[in-house]
């Protein structure tokens, strides 16, 4: 194995701006590489899943076999050999954990190092965390307190066992297993993820958060998240992700589904910082993710906020289907690419119900030799009377070797609705840098300030701690990329 020892890795990471690049040495129980029906049966069996889940997986696997990896994104990469991936990997310890004390101390230490303290007494007030290590959820905090409020927040594996009816009702209802190549693969092999259910009229009393970590070199990570907000419910959910530095490319193919019923509201925030590969484009995560929410009920609202700074390749379009009348969809995104990173990300807003509204704010920053694309679809159907969309997509270029691309798809079949889209691409302002420098700021601080100003509309959508974290992250990522 070409993996670095932990100490080496931390050292390298410190010198190389990716500070999460260490690997934790833990014993793994791995499946053999490759994918076939037996592997899927085994995943299902090991998790003790009911029959309907196995059927769900096998059906997805069958449709996946007939699908081809998409070619249309504006990214270039060496295609993966799907038979070289380990489809299930879990830390070797007791499979069932009753409390945090039983979690492998190595894993807990890893989360501490990442700045995600799991021990409840140290928790930031009001944030409940589910931690997914490689493919398995290792700990969920504040479960009891949430239960009192009626909120279910647990790992997907537990949800399948404890709430099979809810899972059966909603899983795959927003992203059908045959939706696309990667979602089909995920549906066949997903190992864990988070499940959130907020019942009628309940405002979730704290922020919910999942922390994803890929640790094992050859394993793919296929988590599955399902969030359901019943009538009048509301919840805010955060996710963060990191991975060690490996020379090989690892696959992260997650699926997130959100269902919002009448008058409910779901806010989903992501700070994505998977390992982006080195400056020559070696290694890094392939982040091929399907995220979609449906505003099923009237007056419901789904809001996606993402800060994408990591991954070698990002392919991701968090979307909202606006089915209920007066429903609202939002997408706020900052995507930063540096070195050899490539990102093709954006959103889809599908207006079906009357008086539906959507807002898209996308800020792309390209530096180094990276390529950064916004791709988005706004579609207003013939029955979506009185609907509105407003989109603004700005790109900033830092250095002359990178590229910025904007591909909005705008379609309207309704003559009482309106769509407004604006996009700009420009260079980071030299006169702005000089102005700030003449007020005593270093060049790097000036750039960081300008970038933060550029992204402000998005950052203000993030919960406080996340916003601060995101700003710091951008500054670190851009270090040394100007001049």
């Amino acid at each position: 194995m070409s993996t670095l020892s932990e100490a080496q890795a931390v050292e390298v990471a410190a010198s190389k701006k990716y500070k999460y690049g260490f690997k934790t040495d833990i014993q793994y129980e791995d499946f053999p590489k490759g994918l076939n029906e037996d592997i899927i049966r085994k995943i299902s069996e090991i998790k003790g899943e009911p029959e309907f889940m196995l059927e769900f997986r096998l059906k997805a696997y069958k449709s996946w076999l007939e699908m081809e990896e998409p070619e249309w994104p504006n990214v270039e990469y060496e295609k993966l050999d799907y038979q070289e991936i380990v489809y299930h990997s879990q830390p070797k310890k007791k499979p069932k954990l009753n409390s945090l004390d039983e979690v492998d101390p190595e894993i807990l230490e890893t989360y501490e190092k990442l700045g995600i303290p799991l021990s409840e007494q140290k928790m930031l007030a009001g944030v409940a965390v589910d931690a997914v290590f490689d493919s398995v959820s290792v700990a969920t905090t504040f479960k009891e307190k949430l239960k009192e409020a009626g909120v279910i927040f647990c790992s997907m594996t537990e949800a399948v066992k404890d709430y099979p009816e809810l899972v059966k009702q909603y899983l795959g209802s927003v992203v059908p297993s045959s939706d696309n190549f990667f979602s089909a693969l995920n549906s066949a092999v997903f190992s864990d993820g988070s499940f959130v259910f907020v019942p009628k009229g309940v405002k979730c009393p704290m922020e919910l958060s999942t922390y994803f970590r890929i640790n094992n070199e050859n394993s793919g990570q296929f988590e599955r998240t399902l969030i359901v907000a019943e009538e009048g419910a509301s919840v805010s959910y955060l996710e963060g992700c990191t991975a060690p530095m490996f020379d090989t490319n690892q696959l992260h193919a997650a699926v997130v589904e959100i269902v919002a019923l009448d008058n409910s509201e779901v806010k989903y925030s992501t700070v994505q910082n998977w390992y982006p590969g080195d400056e020559n484009g070696k290694g890094g995560i392939y982040n091929f993710v399907t995220k979609r929410g449906i505003c099923k009920g009237v007056n419901s609202k789904i809001s996606w906020t993402q800060v994408e700074t990591g991954s070698a390749i990002t392919w991701k379009y968090p979307s909202v289907i606006l089915k209920g009348d007066n429903s609202i969809g939002e997408f706020y995104s900052v995507a930063l690419t540096n070195d050899m990173q490539q990102a093709d990300t954006g959103t889809k807003m599908i207006h079906l119900g009357k008086n539906t509204k959507s807002t898209i704010v996308s800020k792309g920053i390209s530096a180094g030799k990276s390529q950064n694309s916004y791709r988005g679809l706004v579609k207003i159907g013939p029955k979506a009377n009185g609907s509105r969309n407003y989109s603004v997509c700005d790109s900033m270029l830092i250095g002359s070797d990178c590229g910025a691309h904007t591909f909005p798809y705008i379609e309207s079949k309704n003559n009482t609705s309106s769509i407004e889209h604006e996009a700009t691409t420009s260079k980071i302002g030299e006169d702005q840098i000089f102005y700030l420098q003449s007020r005593g700021m270093s060049e790097e601080d000036a750039i960081s300030l300008i970038i933060n100003g550029f992204c402000k509309e998005v950052f203000k959508e993030l919960p406080m701690e996340f916003a601060v974290e995101a700003q710091k992250l951008l500054a670190i990522k851009l270090e040394g990329s100007v001049g």
Partner: protein
């Protein structure tokens, strides 16, 4: 305080400054006057360290130290302040954040404790009064959507806050109506003391009715062609620049 010796500079290969000599001592106000394109704004920007200009010869000494190799932010922290002719808009960055960072950058350089947000509030309140600005300006993005006069007042607010040793004012008077000019001038007069110095770059002598200069220099075609007291400015007001340009031509030919 500031000593410029035989300064030559170009921008994109074109010679703008052709041998400037100038000395400004603490407690002094110097006016640099000249027609459009004479190089007077360039001079101010070069002292502040604008990267677009290339210094091809000569020296700039500030407090005895050669500053030509220094970045603009180093110069700012040393106490050189440029009030821009066209203040730049910085979307998304609030004015108060900029000013607090700027003030703290200067303070930490001077070994004074940095201001926390609460202390800053008290600090800036005083300064706002000086330029007769509303505190709502603090919450807005830097110069974004400001009127011309508001931008210039904002420059003076920054000047007052950063308490520079040398303030370079690049056509601060241009585009100001009479009231705004009075506010700006009053503020400058209050800031002016025996320890700091001002270099006023201006086309017209109008502002000099409010801020009395110790010395007036006329810059034409990249050279200082005449220096004198405040009465020189009045002379220019009356006669324009033509008589000096003719002189310069004769000298140039000789």
């Amino acid at each position: 305080m500031l000593k410029i010796i035989d300064l030559h500079a170009t921008v994109e290969g074109e010679k703008i400054l052709k041998g400037i000599n100038l000395e400004i001592n603490k407690g002094e106000v110097h006016a640099i006057m000249g027609p459009n394109g004479s190089g007077k704004s360039t001079l101010a920007k070069i002292v502040a360290g604008h990267p677009a200009y290339e210094v091809t010869g000569g020296q700039i000494l500030f407090e005895g130290e050669d500053i030509l190799e220094m970045d603009p932010d180093e110069r700012a922290r040393m106490g050189i302040f440029l009030a821009f002719q066209y203040p730049v808009e910085v979307p998304g960055v609030s004015n108060s954040m900029l000013i607090r960072q700027a003030v703290n950058a200067v303070r930490s350089e001077r070994g004074i404790d940095e201001l926390d947000p609460l202390e800053f509030e008290d600090f800036i309140e005083e300064k706002l009064k000086l330029v007769e600005m509303d505190d709502k300006f603090l919450d807005r993005s830097v110069n974004e959507g400001f009127s011309g006069g508001e931008k210039k007042r904002n420059e003076i607010l920054q000047l007052a806050s950063m308490e520079p040793r040398l303030a370079l004012m690049d056509e601060t008077d241009s585009g100001l109506d009479i009231d705004a000019l009075r506010i700006v001038s009053d503020a400058v007069n209050k800031i002016r003391n025996s320890e700091n110095a001002f270099m006023l770059v201006t086309h017209y002598q109008r502002i000099l009715n409010y801020i009395t200069p110790d010395k007036v220099h006329v810059l034409i075609n990249g050279r200082i062609v005449k220096s004198g007291g405040k009465e020189l400015a009045l002379q220019l007001e009356e006669k324009g620049y033509d008589w000096l340009m003719k002189d310069q031509l004769v000298n140039g030919e000789a």
